[in-house]
Amino acid sequence: MRANCWIAPNRVAVEDVPDPQIVNPRDAIVRVTSSAICGSDLHLLDGFSPAMRRGDVLGHEFMGEIVELGPGVRDGFRVGDRVVVGFPIACGDCASCQRGLYSLCENSNPNAGIAELAMGHSPAGIYGYSHLLGGYAGGQAQYVRVPFADVGALKVDDDLSDEQVLFLSDVLPTGYMAAELCDITPGDTVAVWGAGPVGQFAAVSAFLLGAERVIVIDRYPYRLRMAGEKAGAETINYEETDVLDALRETTAGRGPDACIDAAGMESHHASAALYAYDRVKQAARLETDRPHALREAILSCRNGGTIAAIGAYGGFIDKFPMGSFMNRSLTMRSGQAHVQRYMRPLLDRIRRGQLDPSFIITHTMRLDDAAEGYDIFKNKQDECMKVVLKP
């Protein structure tokens, strides 16, 4: 089959690789009909994760049709079912899964020992997301093996298009969970750093969960425009405006009640000097992640407010404003999205017409053109927001 593989830092290529096989009783093989490139794929692309190997198949946002089923798959799945698959691989049987913390599945990372060295304890395995998180082949391919298919896959009806349901695999639940972590109460103002797909869905979800105002911060006018038009958010371009001042001003000095970091480990800063400081340290591996957005979110948040860190981080950050965080009674909540917890309720919202996540798609390309898709997405060319790949 054809599959998009990581070759070297900043290089991916679509190669011929062997077809996946059923290796465990609860596996399914899915013929992929649509997959997408995620912002976190860009972190892997850069080679900042040390656990990538040449030839790893990328991709953790995908959907398709079940073409083969292991004998142990529960819950009445059948060959021919149309499914969307959540990115965390979760067994459904461990204590974490049963508490709904699917991205913390205790059984799905066969390389848990490596993850424990890096993080203390291991989170769940993830498709195409480095060997630290399992070494699983990803879904930017014609076929993909889905372990614990009865937990990971959600059947979807034929009358909904791929574009409407594909993002149930990751970015929609991720954005939704970010808003949920904010414990929004009536009257709340929520600020969102990063107007990428997760930031867009976080803004939409914050309104769904009752926020009074949502303010989205980015530097790309087309992304801010989308946040304004599609999510109904107010916007701040951090290259033109001092974010802290603007947020203080617009909330009459209080600061936003909740702040979502939807930018993550490779965020930028308006000040070239401050950006360079972290960029150089990152390049020298003195810190692995650049936390500009997170620092600003902490400083901006109202006293006693909540930070939702949903953008991906991989390792260590520097200059964490702990004094501000501690003295002002802030709360920080975080996590890779527990996708399986949100898929069904969000599918219901899509079905009822409350949500149409397809608005983020700006590019639909052939799988064979994946390298070009990564390039356009990474460099924000052609007003790129989301690339969907069709095998």
């Binding site: 062997p18 465990n24 204590a95 020992g113 060997h131």
Partner: protein
């Protein structure tokens, strides 16, 4: 002589998990002997004065007597550091330092002595040199890393999301063990309530032994040990405890194994990545997977499931070219 800390964890005294207490008794014997020797020398030097100096070939001069008294006091110091603490530690090195001073003094004296006085001096020097060797040995043993013992104790634990009853029942059926203990090839019934175990040994060999259950408390504990004459004398126990607040069952395993070939065998095994401690930890992770999900988790990078060796030798995260063997069929 393992102790339990307040958290219930057995204290581990070094990176190999070996207790120092059982190792240092022999060393302490030597150190104590040297301590008594020091005491004797010290008392002799202070009390016997001129005779002691003649014995070791030194002139019975005023200066020599003063030096000898200082040396005597020093010996009493050695005796104190060696005999008073419960265990010889850095104290043993004070004797080595003293020996160095003595040898230097003797070497200086040797340059100017002739005839019978020189012969006595040579004798004294060789005696001190012999004692120095003994002191050095005791000091190195008292403060260095202890030797690997014949038997190695391994402990590991895991929490599983199953009842104590289920967990006990699964483990009690020893025939289940090879499913998650990768070094085991089979466990078979062999009559008299005994079981016959076959395990992979380093260098592709197989070792077999018979084991019997020595304690069995339902839903609490199972203990077993190999019967006499086993090529790999070993024993093990697994304890089950209900975790607080519905958090499942805590499983604690303790194994004691005498690896084939003892020390050398264990070191060779370690070099090939077959660290028993790591094996047991991996075994427990797989036990958790099997009892919770019914299967061993496999990825493209780690097609055989969790194991430290596989984590180090990752295949690329893409489907394997060859037909993988279906564990589904073999189960």
């Amino acid at each position: 002589m393992s102790r339990r800390s307040t958290t219930g964890v057995r204290s581990v005294t070094d990176s190999l998990g070996i207790e120092r207490a059982s190792q240092t008794t022999g060393v302490d014997g030597v150190a104590r002997f040297l301590g008594w020797l020091s005491l004797g020398l010290g008392v002799a030097s202070l009390g016997a004065g001129p005779r002691a100096s003649r014995l070791c070939g030194v002139d019975d001069s005023r200066a020599a007597r003063t030096v000898l008294r200082i040396a005597g006091l020093r010996e009493l110091g050695h005796a104190a550091t060696l005999l008073i603490p419960r265990r010889a530690g850095w104290g043993a090195w004070t004797r080595v330092a003293g020996d160095a001073v003595d040898l230097t003094a003797l070497a200086v004296a040797l340059r100017s002595r002739r005839g019978p006085r020189r012969r006595r001096l040579v004798l004294a020097t060789s005696a001190v040199a012999g004692l120095t060797a003994m002191d050095l040995y005791a000091a190195l043993r008292a403060t260095g890393r202890p030797r690997m013992p014949a038997a190695e104790r391994i402990t590991a634990s895991v929490t599983v999301n199953r009842s104590v009853e289920d967990t006990y029942r699964y483990w009690h059926d020893f025939y289940n063990l090879p499913r998650f203990m990768y070094h085991l090839q089979s466990v078979r019934r062999s009559g008299d309530g005994r079981t016959r175990w076959a395990a992979k040994a380093p260098a592709g060999r197989t070792v077999e032994w018979e084991a019997e259950i020595v304690a069995d408390r339902p839903n609490q504990l199972i203990a077993w040990q190999s019967v006499d004459g086993s090529p790999v004398p070993n024993s093990g126990r697994v304890e089950f405890r209900r975790a607080a607040g519905g958090r499942g069952t805590e499983v604690r395993v303790e194994l004691e194994v005498t690896p084939p070939g003892r020390k050398v065998g264990a070191l060779v095994a370690r070099a090939f990545g077959e660290d028993p401690q790591q094996q047991v930890r991996d075994d427990l992770r797989r036990f958790k997977q099997v009892i919770e999900t019914g299967e061993i988790t496999r990825s493209d990078g780690s097609p055989d499931g969790i194991s430290v060796q596989q984590q180090l030798r990752q295949r690329p995260g893409r489907p394997p070219a060859t037909r993988v063997e279906w564990p589904v069929a073999s189960r």
